[in-house]
């Protein structure tokens, strides 16, 4: 609150500032604790230990892959939701948003029932081609896509809606087909939203734990991503767990800063 507001409307009441301060402290103290207890002296060693390194590498590879998959398939879905009208569109949107509120472990169970050895798609896949997805690196990517895709679709759909349909109409009057309009007008105008969506999507994939451990398991080097490694290391090598947590915190802060920058520059153009 600015000082002039204090002067004109009086001080904020204690009944509000006290709970507000408590809430803020509750959010800040745990993160501060990680920073305080971080093994700063051995940080490099902790992170370059084979298990930590494997987890870092696997997380990087899988999250980049799942983000690419989300962008490739999520943008068309966002376009359909923003630019076409069809029966049951609100149902489609509800299904897209469901993984946002679904407990990730339930997502993992659902993926097993669909793509597991005896899953409704997994069994025919196994029978016909001998392809088994669960407990592979591919399963890690699938789990990440399942939880992260909604972030991309929702922010890109928002960007498509915000840039408006009128530029699309202008493009049509200039002879551009819908595909050409999408490529040359709709997508470039929504680009900041696509970047924001991709960053959010990647951040969510990086933190994915519940669906991954349920559907992909916990095999070092193939399915043990950073969050899983943190959880396991906490038992016998807490320093390594804290070091990895620190990496995830830094990544989150960077993502937040990037999005803020993106958001601000998006407003100024």
């Amino acid at each position: 609150m600015s000082s002039s507001a204090v002067r004109t409307r009086g001080r904020a009441p204690l009944g509000l500032t006290l709970p507000a301060a408590t809430a803020l402290a509750f959010l800040v103290i745990p993160v501060a604790a990680v920073l305080i207890r971080a093994p700063w002296g051995t940080l490099v060693d902790d992170l370059s230990a084979p298990e930590a390194r494997d987890a870092l590498r696997l997380s990087l590879v899988t999250t980049v892959t799942s983000t690419v998959v989300c962008v490739a398939f999520g943008i068309p879905l966002a376009w359909l939701l923003a630019r076409t009208s069809f029966r049951g569109r609100s149902l489609v949107r509800a299904m897209v948003t469901l993984p946002l509120v679904l407990p990730p472990v339930v997502g993992g169970v659902a993926l097993l029932l669909a793509f597991g050895r005896n899953g409704i798609l997994g069994k025919p896949l196994d029978d016909a081609f001998g392809i088994s997805l669960p407990f592979t690196t591919a399963a890690v990517v699938m789990a990440q896509v399942f939880v992260a895709l909604p972030f991309l679709v929702i922010s890109v759909e928002g960007a498509f809606r915000a840039s408006g349909e009128r530029y699309d109409e202008a493009a049509a009057t200039l002879g551009a087909s819908r595909w050409s309009t999408f490529r040359r007008v709709t997508l470039p105008l929504a680009f900041p939203g696509v970047v924001a969506g991709a960053v959010l999507c990647w951040a969510r994939a990086l933190g994915e734990f519940g669906a991954t451990i349920t559907f992909a398991g916990n095999f070092p080097g193939t399915t043990r991503t950073m969050p899983t490694q943190v959880y396991l290391a906490l038992q016998d090598d807490p320093d390594s767990a804290i070091a990895l947590s620190l990496v995830l915190i830094v990544v989150s802060v960077v993502v937040l800063a990037l999005l803020r920058e993106r958001w601000l520059s998006g407003l100024s153009t």
Partner: protein, 349 residues
Amino acid sequence: MSLDAHFVVRRPAHTTTVDLDAGPGEIVGLIGPNGAGKSTTLRALAGLLAVDSGEIALDGRLLSGSDVHVPTHERGVGFVFQDHLLFPHLTALDNVAFGGRSRGTPRAESRSRAAEWLTRLGVGGLANRKPRELSGGQAQRVAIARALASEPRMLLLDEPTASLDASGAMTLRTQLREHLRAFAGVSIVVTHTALDAMVMTDRIIVLDAGDIVQIGTPTQVAARPRTQHVAALVGLNLVRGAARAGAITLPSGMTIVSSNGQLTGPAFATFSPATVSLYTSRPQGSPRNVWEGRVTSVAPHGDAVRVQVESQARLLVDITPAALAALGLRSGSLVWATVKATEVTAYPA
């Protein structure tokens, strides 16, 4: 290059019925108040709206019909939007080259043609600017260049001068007229301003509440308006009533004597605000048209003062500032308004 359009578009709020033929090179003005169906008409012609019945044919090719809807991008119909809608991520040049690229013209050729069009519209020096670096008038010129460069068979313009200030609008208006004259296809201009319609068009179609209420040359429409909207645009008083031997009786009971002594039946009467005189006491002598009323507003209007008088009809009166001072008029003043019968034009409704 001729347009044959007769169609109906039904919207929850209103239904628009249009019957419109236009020949090659003809410039048609669409005027009418908000909600009259002007934009609906343009959007239907451009294929941005589907028609509910009727047909739209351009050069004999059916664009809209009962089972036909040629999509906008295949119609060859150029559109200049009121707020220009230049693509913000492209330079002026690439905006103008957009249409050529859409039709598969090679990039270099599209761009060199775009540069020519920018030069023709007098904005050749702004080719590398982004739309946000252009003034309203510059942006609208680029938008006109963009529409013309796509070589449309018909050009639709939605209030092309509306977003500009008065002098900017006047310059663009005269320039636009030249380009529309040079354009071989049909042009349809939606406008809110009488000047646009008078300066640019060959023929005016007046829309009111979704229907065409008048078609004529700008001169005809301006001299004999049939809607309050057009009368206000061209600055005339307009009343409607029943004529008997040139005297027109309004539903309110007011009678107005016109110069047309033969006229009988439903009729309009118009007279200019400048031909009305005001008095603060009942005038002596023999004016035929004398009405008592109250002043409801007084406002500057060019060099004159426009006084609105609420009588049995609403009258617009233009007087000089000196007369205003002499009469001491203000809102609520009791006045008598007179107009000579020779100043009143009456015509069948």
